[in-house]
Symmetry: C2
Subunit: 263 residues, 2 copies
DNA sequence: TTGCTCCTCACGTCACGTGAGGTGGC
DNA sequence: TTGCTCCTCACGTCACGTGAGGTGGC
């Protein structure tokens, strides 16, 4: 006969766990000796190992209870379901490893390799660290909403960095972000942004391309605009200046009066 | 500005979880509007996603708290440790899948493929279901103690099933297990077991082989003997009859008087 | 007025862990 | 007598879930 600690050792569990399974009705209470100690036979080891094998696989104890009393066909179906769940958990853990690996690579969280390459390129091109961080935080928010679209979008943005005009626009912004509030050069920046947008919209219209970024929900656009407004002191003033020049929004910037044509 | 439910949606968590992170000090309490509602800026989304990425990877919230305040080198080391743990968990889940798969294959739990093959062979050879189950339960208990030795041991046992003498011994036992208590044929069984053991020990001595199964702890041997004693009504009587013939034990059966030679 | 979101307690959940206080055989 | 194992409450842990009861703007 076995004591409770011997039983527990044979199955690799704690004494407390065995008592817990008794209390839950998973393992029948055995007889007691003259001191009131529980005494187990060898069969109890087998039953306890059955319980642990299911519990280790993540089956809740209430479900283990049902399965111990179930017929073979229900049992087989349940085991199938458990295995499906285990496969899903393995996939989840592998996804978590990827996110964690990006964390270790330095560029914050929740971003795919294409995004990391994009930020690397921004740094190589000499953009300031605050500028890169605002970009990165924006893309973390986008990735939280549209994880499947981020790799393609980032690849596009990465390619845009080879375009001199886009690059000059970004450098302009990076510089403006360093202005003291009320800097007199801000209206000039607004003029250049406005001119760039006019050219961009004109080209898009000539090519018959309409806004293809409507994957972005209104909520997400508002969130990204918000982040931009918080990113440097004069950001709200820059948007005001752009409104004076006929543009609304930022992330999805567009003409204020589409009928009047922004040219 | 964002409400708490908007913030939660952007990061894919529940409102309750956000409040929980406030209570734990993981996420700073934002300002309130005139109704007492919390109002968040875009930066809070990024912070919340950082928290969730770590928590999803299995980092306890207390540790997340530390890591958010940690320097880059401690952070990198912690991420390394997290990744090691994730790899370990993936291995564990794959092991659980294997055990669950054996469960689905029908032959109970915690047994490797070699064991399943052994029980299959026993059934093919016509052994009774109770006999196979006693064998199976014994090996579940052995596997709980010495998982790494079971495949080799089972392969050996599987090979022994091709030996006519071993096979006759097993059939003898299977039959005896079906006897009514007090069956007059039991002493004859004891005689044949005794003869077989005498031959086995003589051969082992001639070949200079000593007991190689001392991987089995005394406790495990006692447990397996116990299981055998419980397996059929006359099992205790069979062991008594064997003791009269000069043998003690069952799992690790041996001569009662090694000096006197059991011949 | 109704429905929706927000608020703060505060108890519940799951699978045990961890003392607290006591007993029984060597 | 001391040390060890066993016993039964019963509260603690972790990361929230889930009402309970109430407020504020449409």
């Amino acid at each position: 006969m076995l004591t409770i600690s011997q039983l527990a050792a044979h199955a690799g569990v704690t004494v407390r766990a065995v008592r817990h399974y008794h209390a839950k009705g998973l393992l029948p209470e055995p007889g007691r000796d003259h001191s009131g100690y529980r005494r187990y036979d060898a069969q109890a080891v087998v039953e306890l190992i059955r319980i642990r094998t299911l519990a280790d696989a993540g089956v809740p104890l209430s479900r283990v209870h049902e399965l111990l009393a179930a017929g073979p066909e229900e049992f087989a179906a349940a085991v199938e379901a458990v295995d499906r769940r285990l496969r899903g958990e393995i996939r989840d853990l592998q996804r978590h490893r990827q996110r964690i690996a990006q964390l270790a690579a330095g560029d914050s969280l929740a971003l795919p390799a294409e995004a990391v390459a994009y930020f690397e390129r921004l740094r190589e091109l000499g953009f300031s660290e605050p500028f890169v961080e605002v970009e990165r935080d924006s893309w973390i928010m986008i990735a939280a909403q549209l994880p499947q679209h981020v790799p393609a979008l980032m690849a596009t943005k990465r390619a845009q960095l080879d375009d001199e005009i886009v690059l000059r626009f970004y450098r302009d912004l990076d510089e403006a972000a360093g202005f003291e509030p009320g800097d007199p050069r801000l209206p000039e920046v607004a003029d250049r942004v406005s001119a760039l947008m006019t050219a961009t919209f004109a080209r898009a219209e000539a090519e018959g391309v309409s806004a293809e970024d409507d994957q972005f929900s209104d909520e997400l656009v508002a969130l990204l605009d918000e982040a931009f407004l918080d990113s440097f002191p004069d950001a709200p003033r820059l948007l005001e200046l752009l409104e004076e020049r006929g543009w609304v929004g930022w992330t999805m910037i567009r003409p204020a009066h589409p009928g009047r044509r922004a040219v």
